[in-house]
């Protein structure tokens, strides 16, 4: 719900989300109600990295690495003294808008950049009415300066710094149509977050980037980056009562060297090191949630071998391999035991990870490949030591200090076609994960009802647990540039994943993993002319009935509740948490039309987009209130952008 990416059924800490190559320092991966503090409107591009290259960034990247490139620290010289972009967007579904301004400029080697984004929106309108407490507002302000491409005899240097301040307030609805979700607050919950960060980047690029003819590595590039983040998030009830407050300081840095060498064939490689310190704390509502400090360090190497001359007969053949060694130490700042959490102690985790991949161009435009990877993820501080209510997830979360690190193995097979007007990709993947960590609701062994928190009897208690898991699936994409209709492109994607985990009861039973995406497809026809553009698209998902069985034998019993039943009181059935409920299928139509024109050296761009044009009632499988509340309905967005 809070915009975390889901890749191949994996989300949270298993999908590494970076900004300009660095971790964001927020707590988005710790819970589904925690927002990612990345603004896609200001991204220059988004990179999805899989395979051995992902090891340059982390060990827990079976789901992939998403790197949002903003270039807060300028990476290029700017010829103009002053240039920029002004944009504004309004949308109808929530009476909301976004205003964005970016200024950039440079004099010689000095380049600078400033960005401001301001966002506000009211409650979202669904076909059945307004979703209460779904409003949002905030700002994102940043500035960066750098000396770029400073020439020396050996190469070119770059040294820069940037600072950023992100503030956001958003609502987490807990009711709709008179029905309150179990553990939720009828008045909703608000999340106030603040993220302040600063970074310093330096890099050097050799004047000679040609592949070396020597077995000895020759440096082509080196970079150093360091970042400091102060993050704070409060979860409040309407009226201002703070239920939970999280705070985190994070510092990290990495150094990377790229080189070329020859080992019979040309080789390009990278070797580097990374270190991070993270101090996470929580307070509020007498949570007892334990603060902890996590220190991590890693060393990694990755190489790409060009085997064209050896195997390809001139056709590109690439072998990539990577290896990484990570060590993490998590120290609780408070070791007090409670009835639910025992043996709170320092935990240390060390593991090697690796990946190897091969791509072969069988014939012009036809490439096949395969990769295999071994991944490792130590438990997060929250998974080990939590002990308290979490308003945004309607849960009382209890950690498990005995958790082991997750270890995963993944295999990918893929094929790409690029012939004439057609581009196509297809990939098959399978993953096996040992000690997959998930949140298990506790059940009273005598009554069969959910265990409620001891203090308020309001929230279901969830404890971190782990079990073996398996995922497999397929993805496909096709793009066709229609030959006789210049500018007309038709593309489509389809994705499917299935995940199972060993049942909590043990033995040989396997049950569905929670929060698995259903079969999804997207088709779009778009036309891009010189001044006009437009698109029409269809997006659809099959129903998702593969959900884990609810462990309760009494208490929560149903996924669907009418408002009239809710107000009856005694005898009314209780709602199951969303992860045990199926999701119906849905289909959406999206339209857009745009025009751009130039006046002098200024570019103007206006786009009108209609999302969910048919105002369909649809429920996302990850939406925690899906049993009672739909997703937003028809939304008309108008975006104006002016750049110079």
């Amino acid at each position: 719900m809070a915009s975390q990416p889901v890749i191949r059924g994996l989300t949270g800490d298993r999908v590494l989300v970076l900004e300009d190559g660095q971790r964001t320092g927020d707590i988005a991966t710790t819970a589904p109600d925690h927002a990612v503090t990345i603004d896609p409107m200001t991204a220059r591009r988004v990179e999805i990295i899989r395979g051995p290259a992902g090891l340059l960034f982390g060990s827990n990247s079976l789901g992939g690495v998403v790197n949002v490139v903003r270039e807060d620290v300028p990476a290029e010289r700017v010829a103009k003294r002053l240039g920029g972009v002004l944009s504004g967007q309004g949308e109808s579904v929530n009476n909301g808008g976004v205003a964005h301004a970016q200024l950039r400029g440079g004099v010689g080697a000095l380049a600078w950049r400033m960005r401001v984004t301001w966002r506000t929106a009211g409650g979202s309108r669904a076909p059945q009415g307004v979703l209460p407490f779904s409003d949002v507002r905030g700002h994102d302000v940043g500035a960066g300066v750098a000396l770029v491409d400073v020439a020396t005899t050996s190469g070119q240097w770059r040294l820069g710094a940037a600072a950023r301040d992100v503030i956001s307030t958003y609502g987490v609805p807990g009711s709709f149509g008179g029905i309150v979700l179990p553990g939720a607050h009828e008045g909703g919950v608000y999340v106030d977050l603040s993220r302040r960060s600063a970074r310093v980047d330096g890099s050097w690029r050799s004047n000679n980037a040609e592949v070396s003819n020597s077995a000895w590595p020759r440096l082509t590039q080196a970079s150093v980056s360091t970042q400091f983040v102060r993050f704070e998030q409060s979860e409040l009830e309407r009226g201002g009562f703070v239920g939970t407050r999280f705070g985190q300081l994070m510092a990290n840095g990495d150094a990377l060297v790229q080189y070329t060498r020859r080992a019979g064939v040309p080789v390009r490689g990278s070797v580097g090191t990374w270190a991070q310190w993270r101090d996470f704390r929580a307070e509020g509502s007498f949570t007892g949630t334990r603060p902890g400090v996590m220190r991590s360090v890693a060393g990694f190497v990755m190489e790409e071998w060009s085997l064209d001359s050896l195997l390809g007969g001139g056709r590109p053949v690439r072998l990539q391999w990577g290896a990484r060694l990570d060590a993490a130490r998590i120290v609780p700042l408070d070791s007090t035991e409670t009835a639910l959490v025992r043996d709170v102690r320092t935990r240390a985790f060390t593991a090697p990870t690796g990946s190897v991949g091969l791509t072969v161009e069988l014939r012009p435009g036809v490439t096949v490949g395969a990769s295999a990877a071994r991944a490792f993820r130590p438990p997060a501080i929250e998974e080990l030591f939590s002990a308290g209510p979490h308003l945004g997830t309607y849960a009382y979360e209890v950690g498990n200090p005995q958790l082991r690190a997750e270890r995963g193995t993944g295999v990918d097979l893929f094929a790409r076609l690029a012939r004439g007007s057609v581009r196509a990709d297809v990939a098959l993947f399978t993953m096996q994960m040992a000690d997959f960590i998930y949140q298990r609701p506790l059940v009273d062994s005598i009554t069969g009802e959910p265990v409620r928190d001891p203090r308020l009897r309001r929230y279901n208690v969830y404890q971190a647990d782990q079990a073996d898991a398996r995922l497999h699936g397929a993805e496909g994409r096709v793009e066709w540039r229609v030959p006789r209709a210049r500018g007309l492109i038709v593309d489509g994607t389809v994705s499917w994943v299935q995940g199972i985990q060993r049942a909590a009861t043990g033995g040989t039973d396997w049950v569905a993993l929670p929060a698995m995406p259903p079969l999804r497809t997207r088709t779009q026809a778009r036309w891009e002319g010189r001044q006009w553009s437009g698109s029409i698209g269809l997006e659809a998902a099959a129903g998702q009935s593969r959900v884990p069985p609810a462990p309760f034998t009494l208490g929560a019993t149903t996924c669907a509740l009418e408002a009239s039943q809710a107000v009856r009181g005694d005898g009314a059935p209780a709602l199951l948490p969303a992860e045990f409920c199926a999701t119906p299928s849905w289909a959406l139509m999206n339209l857009s039309v745009g025009r751009q024109w130039v006046t002098g050296t200024r570019l103007h761009d206006v786009t009108m987009t209609v999302d969910n044009a048919l105002n369909a009632d649809w429920r996302d499988h990850l939406w925690r209130a899906k049993q009672v509340a739909p997703q937003p309905g028809r939304n008309v967005r108008v975006l104006y952008r002016w750049s110079w």
């Binding site: 309004g90 909301g96 009211g122």
Partner: protein
């Protein structure tokens, strides 16, 4: 047509105005119809023994003791003025106030281990009845409607055989 700054400025202002219209107000602010009660601590008075217990930040000074089968009548008062961390004196009586004039507030009470004791009461206080020897905790949470106004730290109590 000669370019001037006015055209894009006008358009940008329009876009900004579009962006600015609508949206929520300060949604975390208390409802405008009545100011939110300011509470720093809670004082509980045992009307039978005269014992006083009071909260202070995240802990209590004093705790109730009840015999199995016995009953303690406890009246609940609140205090607006906070105290320094090292000030462990009881708040003066003239600072206490009850919820008698706040009918729109409620004080649900939860006992962590209901096998130890039972609570019956309303927003002014209640009766703690001992059921089985041992100890547990009571949570007091002050609501206005369905919105939490304030929460006391959990209060330990002892049930004597």
């Amino acid at each position: 047509m000669r370019f001037t700054w006015i055209q894009p400025a006008r358009t940008a202002l329009l876009a900004l105005a579009l962006a600015a219209c609508g949206g929520g107000g300060d949604v975390t602010a208390p409802p405008a119809d009545a100011p939110r009660l300011e509470i720093a601590s809670v004082v509980i008075e045992d009307t039978g023994t005269g014992d006083i217990m009071f909260s202070h930040d995240n802990h209590w000074h004093g705790f109730p003791v009840v015999a199995v089968g016995g009953r303690r009548s406890l009246r609940v008062h609140f205090v607006k003025q906070g105290r320094a961390p090292d000030d462990h004196d009881m708040p003066p009586r003239n600072e206490w106030f009850s919820l008698a004039n706040h009918a729109d507030h409620s004080l649900p009470v939860v006992i962590e281990d209901p096998s130890r004791a039972q609570w019956e009461g309303d927003r002014l206080g209640g009766t703690l009845t001992g059921r089985a020897a041992g100890a547990s905790r009571i949570s007091f949470r002050l609501f206005r409607g369905t919105t939490t106004v304030w929460e006391a730290p959990p209060l330990n109590f002892t049930i004597r055989p």
